[in-house]
Symmetry: C2
Subunit: 374 residues, 2 copies
């Protein structure tokens, strides 16, 4: 059972950036080309960035909606719950939802900042990353510091600038880095390339886990005529990919104190994935060029964390995963979230789990991983 | 435990085509351009087809090798165990391995015949499909009919010709069709398109399940600098994809007696996949345009079968999958196979499973699905 005194920590939520995030922070020369909200015909609001107009102002911001109304994303801020973009309202929604702490991913920038990877002017792009990080640290998290785990993004196109941004934000209290689950799928060097070693070293030194959200390395290659529900049901295949890709790379051999969290992919596939990666490693380790004595499932328990909203298969098999590698996510305000009954639903999910294990999953593991004290 | 009188049925093995498969069967005008074995410099043998030379003569034909020698595929027939390509030797290897029945996928043609999809001359390509099917039915399976489930491929580029080939081979005793797990990934219309309806109807009428082998719809999008072991460890993500894609399509609504088997992807991910697809369907079913009362996990139990070599996570959760939806695979002669101890290893795997369930998994489910009598 979930003990009443547990302060539930969600390690996967989403902030919808309000319209002044960049306008208030970018240097004057970038104000016109940086992200700003524009009004289109028909009362639609959109983001303008460089020469693009991107109308997904509230993509998937459906918290509080009836599922029968899903499929219609809000087109204006005033169609969303204010908790999507207003931190004071967010805290009220967290109180309603029974969630004490959230860790929020970006929306307009993409889960790991890949929108800015596509920018023509990379000085502008870097300024946009810095502005979002300052928004997250100085405005959003600073509003109620014990309720938000501060996470930052990095300029993906410049590994030295990424290292500098990790160090700058670590000094301001950042506790996590959002990064791509499959950088090679967004046109960047892979985890096998060595390219990211300076960043991984900086993350390890700063004790900031990499948070790899589903979709930060592309989406499943579904048929063009398949419904979006197919993609939503397949989030796990991306996390499964990232998990195995990292376990069979030399990343955790090179960085023994680096940790990663896999967001929005659930945990129920992990028992299979770990058994399978060990099976393959047993047979193929001789020519892989990695330590043939470091079993992938052992590396997993030291380095990889998962989280879930609803996953009784994973919970039942939690000892195959590692109780200390499992956390909770609420996914506010996306379509998977159970707002305003996240805690109630999660307590039902944990009803057959011993109290001490429920406490670790619901709170302690996240506090330890993100060095986020009570 | 696995009862001693169980005749173990593997639903996933591989035939390496010997050099006369097409030479002996193609019409005279196609003999020079059809698949034939040629000798290259350095003693290497290769397949010649149209204007291509394809040297993967024994790709992954490693049965009986020490894993420390993996990574070196045989380059000539005489470097392989004869059981790879000689049916009389195959039966001897099956006896050694404790496997009573096999179902064999093609090698040179690709798991579902996609090599021929790339042919310039589609009349040649269709003749190559017909020749392989006749080889499988009249030569390989006819050698010892109670030891091989006859499976055929179809001309993927012509749905009417595919229907005709299903009907022609069904009349000759074919029991299964190898097809692509993700046709849209090999440049064909998707399962959502309606394009395949005549073929699916023919398969349903002939009571021939579709066998969707890992890799018949491309391979996971791994980094170019990742080792092939990453791909091998991720076979399941393809099967997971195909399973969810089909369950959220209208295929099983339209064809209530059609069945599919997912080969080489294991089963341990299925409990998660089913729980997740139900969760997403609960929230998104209202706009999907499919029967909102047909729960995907119920469709699964009626229509989808999995198989495994070694998968204790899946076995432990077998009641979440459905004991009647699980079968055995030996994967001879690929790198996952346990030759010559397949039955011994599988019996160890089943040691905590009640005898009646072990019997269904090891033999009865495959006999029922493929209408393959004792």
């Amino acid at each position: 059972m979930l003990p009443d005194d547990v302060r539930l920590i969600s390690v996967d939520d989403h902030v919808i950036e309000h319209e002044r995030v960049w306008v208030d922070r970018l240097p004057a020369r970038f104000r016109e080309v940086g992200p700003r909200v524009v009004e289109l015909d028909g009362g639609v609001q959109a983001w303008s960035f460089e020469d693009q107009v991107i109308p997904s102002i509230g993509l998937n911001a459906v918290a509080g909606k009836d599922p029968k109304d899903f499929g219609l994303d809000p087109l204006r801020f005033d169609e969303m719950r204010p908790g999507c973009y207003d931190v004071a309202e967010r805290v009220k929604d967290m109180d309603l939802d029974g969630v004490h702490v959230q860790l929020n991913f970006p929306s307009f920038p993409g889960f790991a900042g890949s929108t800015f990877l596509g920018a023509t002017d990379k000085d502008l792009a870097t300024a946009c990353v810095v502005a979002w990080n300052d928004f997250m640290l100085d405005e959003w998290c600073a509003h109620t510091p014990d309720r938000f785990i501060p996470m930052v993004m990095v300029p993906l196109w410049d590994v030295d600038a990424a290292v500098a941004e990790v160090q700058r934000t670590a000094a301001k209290g950042a506790r996590a880095i959002t990064f791509s689950e499959a950088p090679h799928r967004v046109g960047l060097p892979s985890f096998h390339s060595g390219h990211w070693d300076p960043l991984l070293a900086a993350a390890q030194d700063a004790e900031m886990p990499l948070c790899l959200h589903f979709g930060s390395g592309g989406v499943p290659d579904v048929a063009p005529d398949a419904d979006f529900a197919v993609t939503i049901a397949l989030f796990a295949t991306n996390s499964h990919f990232a998990c195995v890709d990292l376990l069979l790379s030399d990343v955790f051999h090179t960085f023994p104190r680096l940790r990663v969290a896999l967001q929005e992919g659930g945990i129920g596939w992990m028992p299979y994935a770990l058994e399978r990666v060990d099976y393959v490693w047993e047979r193929h380790r001789w020519y892989l060029g990695i330590d043939p004595d470091a079993r992938p499932s052992d590396l997993f328990r030291e380095h990889v964390y998962g989280c879930f909203i609803s996953d009784t298969a994973g919970l039942e098999a939690r000892h195959r995963i590692g109780v200390d590698n499992i956390m909770f996510e609420s996914d506010y305000p996306h379509s998977d979230c159970n707002f305003p009954v996240a805690r109630t639903r999660f307590a039902e999910e944990l009803k057959d789990v011993p109290d001490d294990e429920a406490r670790r999953i619901a709170e302690d593991n996240a506090r330890r991983l993100f060095r986020f004290p009570r």
